[in-house]
């Protein structure tokens, strides 16, 4: 009995003396890693760096399948549906951009680039600020620093091409509780300064990054080629009329630097290039890869025709269809092209068939039927609400080995290609043509793309003027790079958006009468509209408010 009382007292006393530790609220969280853990462990630190290729979900209708990377990438509504390439059938905040209703409070799907990019830049700066404290060889630190500078430059590239002048924050790591009243913190640099900064970062990155992927430098991480490719794209933008902040020669030289690496070449099969999960093509310079454990949205059901139980998401426009040449190398409006408006889909550039599903196209063992009455992929087919308003469906990127129905555990593994060699050739051709005119190297660059084995289009005719060559290169970009997030920026930097984006969004209505079809163009989305101010996106209202009104809005908004 006595001993029991003693034990009870001892427990009581012990609890009195131990229960009031002062830091009992400072627990180490078990569901996330602390700063100290990341900096104290070289493996965790490297994982932190690699994760900077990804971003956070910022808005509704984004990151539906996986974390966002750079740009928009694989989402239900592709970035191409903000252009004359396609419209997104069920809107998802894309129509207001097509219709010129963008405003700082209504940014649609284009509202998250600002916030996500600056968040990433700060995270990169955090790693750069602390890398000295990490226990790691200096040579590996140099690699990671080069990689971080590449990622940071990519974020600035995303900012510059959408907003123009950006706020350069250098290596600063802003912390909560700091004084943010200084207007200099929100001052936007000129486009020239912004691009020069990013290019200088990329020069340093190109020096420090490895040339090739390896067991220790996995696919998906930046290489010298990726840094030089990004640099050439930025310099191409800089030389373009909208930016007017660089020279065509600098852009041509930068593209030539990538070509002179002699590491990249065109993939022979245009359609296959976009599908292989492994992406082991010599054409791919920098891409984001997916696998069974980390998939993006299931593209086949998202975009497939309603007759196949697809949802008809991003539906190509007639505006794009008309750009594809005949396979004799003539445009559809050329008098001798042989184009027949009442039989429009025969003998076209093979990339047309790889990119667009049209009435009569063989798809998964049956022809696509967009005609009325009765076509299975028209509004007379099943799930009529999933019918394309344009009469076309997307074919590019679609992997026929994926099921359309119930794809949830298998589909969504195509890589998103940020840079591929064809773009570099087109950057070179465009910049060289502007700098010195259509010399032999310009012809060679474009003809290399056109003579890719699976495409095999005739070479460009000799003796073109600079203006004729310019028009053909622009057409080649539109065709070759369709749906790869180029058109939106191209029509802006060329300052032709006030024309191209004010053309109605056309589709094609097919009426079947016996064995014959009648083709009638129709407007697929009402109210397409573009104004001068839309050359740049509006900075979201919330960002302006967060700066206390110090951040300057783009003109016109």
């Amino acid at each position: 009995m006595k001993s029991k009382i003693f034990i009870a007292c001892a427990i009581g006393l012990a609890s009195i003396f131990t229960s009031c530790k002062e830091d009992f609220l400072d627990v180490t969280p078990t569901d996330r890693l602390t700063d100290a853990a990341v900096i104290g462990d070289s493996v965790l630190f490297e994982a932190y760096v690699i994760n900077r290729y990804l971003g956070v979900r910022q808005a509704d209708k984004e990151a539906d399948g996986n974390m966002p990377g750079f740009g928009r990438g694989w989402e239900y509504a592709l970035w191409g549906s903000l252009t004359d390439e396609s419209i997104y059938r069920s809107d998802d905040q894309t129509w207001l951009i097509q219709r010129g209703q963008l405003s700082p409070e209504n940014t649609g799907i284009a509202g998250s680039i600002w916030g996500r990019s600056y968040r990433s830049i700060r995270e990169v700066n955090y790693a750069l600020a602390h890398i000295d404290e990490v226990n790691m060889s200096q040579s590996h630190k140099n690699l990671l620093m080069a990689e971080l500078k590449f990622i940071r430059a990519f974020r600035y590239h995303d900012l510059i091409r959408n907003y123009g002048r950006v706020v350069l924050i250098g290596d600063r790591v802003a912390e909560l509780g700091e004084d943010f009243t200084d207007p200099a913190l929100f001052e936007r640099s000129s486009i020239e300064e912004s691009i020069n900064y990013a290019v200088q970062q990329l020069n340093e990155a190109a020096q420090g990054l490895p040339l090739e992927h390896s067991r220790t430098w996995e696919k998906g991480r930046a290489t010298t080629g990726a840094a030089l490719a990004l640099k050439s794209r930025l310099l191409l933008y800089a030389a373009s009329p909208l930016y007017n902040a660089g020279t065509w020669k600098a852009a041509a030289d930068a593209a030539k630097d990538v070509m002179d690496l002699n590491m990249y070449s065109l993939h022979p099969d245009y359609a296959e290039l976009f599908i292989a999960e492994e992406g082991n093509s010599d054409e791919i310079i920098f891409a984001r890869y997916y696998n069974l454990n980390s998939r993006h949205t299931a593209l086949e059901i998202a975009n497939g025709p309603n007759g196949y139980d697809g949802w008809g998401g991003n539906t190509p426009l007639q505006n794009l269809v008309d750009v594809y040449m005949l396979n004799n190398g003539k445009t559809i409006d050329a008098p001798t092209s042989g184009y027949d408006p009442q039989n429009p889909y025969v003998n076209r550039d093979p990339r047309f068939y790889a990119t667009i599903l049209y009435n009569g196209a063989e798809y998964r063992g049956s022809p696509v039927e967009t005609f009325v009455p009765g076509g299975k992929d028209s509004k007379d087919g099943p799930s009529s609400w999933n019918t394309s308003q344009t009469g076309y469906y997307l074919h590019k990127f679609m992997d026929d080995t994926n099921p359309i129905q119930n794809p949830w555990n298998v589909a969504g593994r195509q890589p998103w290609i940020y840079f591929r060699y064809a773009e570099i050739l087109l950057i070179y051709a465009e910049a060289q043509n502007e700098a010195v005119g259509p010399d032999a190297s310009v012809y060679e660059a474009v003809n290399t793309i056109r003579s890719r084995p699976g495409v095999n289009m005739p070479a460009l005719p000799a003796g073109l003027s600079q203006a004729e060559m310019r028009a053909l290169i622009r057409r080649e970009r539109q065709v070759e790079l369709a749906f790869e997030e180029h058109r939106f920026y191209d029509v802006r930097r060329w300052k032709i958006a006030d024309i191209t984006e004010n053309v109605p969004a056309y589709g094609m209505e097919l009426i079947k009468n016996g064995d014959t079809f009648t083709y009638t163009p129709k407007v697929a989305l009402e109210g397409r509209h573009f104004e001068e101010k839309h050359y740049w996106l509006p900075i979201p209202r919330s960002e302006i408010q967060a700066s206390g009104g110090k951040l300057e809005q783009n003109p016109g908004y």
């Binding site: 809107d91 207001l96 219709r99 700082p104 409070e105 209504n106 609400w385 509209h529």
Partner: protein
């Protein structure tokens, strides 16, 4: 609590003159709503939104339970209601769903220029008069008084029943959601869905017999 930040509509653009006289949101056409330019800067921006007085959490909720018996009859009634409450409801319609008939029948159109509802768009969520500029046209006063439950019963005389060894027999009829007094015509005022996607409450009528041995 749960109040809304909305543009204030002051009518419908019916003439070219209206379009000339009022600032308008981009993409506005005849038949769209006119929004009040609250800060009078000549443009419709997010600064023109106004906090609503009421939200969709009612400031008043009440109920009355009444009961009566007379001879062999019994009656119980439950009234329920709410007051000082608003609900924003913009039905998700167009190619993706169905319109309320009151909107479809009374929509502005070139052939119905006096329509009391704005013109219809391919999708209401993408419309200037809809989801792009959330506004108080779609704010409904969802105050209501509802006969939630009523029951009437009649017990058979016990003298008769005791002969066949039954203690009590009661015939009754009851009903749920029998009557609703509200200004809302298109949907159940008890909803809290802002796109009108919800399953409405059912009206249920039961007839029954209680037998006690």
């Amino acid at each position: 609590m749960n109040t809304y930040l909305l543009y204030q509509n002051i009518g419908i653009f019916r003439t070219q003159e209206d379009l000339n006289n009022y600032p308008q949101a981009p993409g506005t056409r005849l038949g769209d709503l006119i929004y009040r330019d609250v800060n009078e800067d000549g443009a419709i921006t997010a600064d023109d939104r106004v906090r609503t007085e009421l939200g969709n959490i009612p400031q008043i909720m009440y109920g009355v339970n009444l009961g009566a018996t007379y001879k062999s009859f019994d009656l119980s009634v439950l009234f329920q209601g709410q007051g000082r409450v608003s609900q924003y409801v913009l039905p998700d319609v167009g190619t993706s769903g169905n319109f309320f008939s009151s909107w479809a029948d009374n929509r502005w159109s070139p052939s119905n220029p006096a329509g009391s509802y704005p013109r219809v768009e391919t999708r209401s969520g993408s419309a200037v008069s809809g989801g792009l500029y959330q506004n108080d046209f779609w704010l409904y006063n969802t105050a209501f008084l509802r006969l939630k439950n009523a029951e009437i019963g009649y017990s058979l005389p016990s003298g008769l029943l005791s002969k066949i060894k039954i203690e009590n027999v009661r015939l009754y009829a009851n009903g749920f959601n029998l009557l609703t007094f509200t200004k809302v015509k298109d949907f159940d005022p008890e909803t809290s869905s802002s796109n009108a996607q919800f399953y409405p409450q059912q009206r249920i009528i039961n007839l029954g017999v209680n037998v006690k041995f």
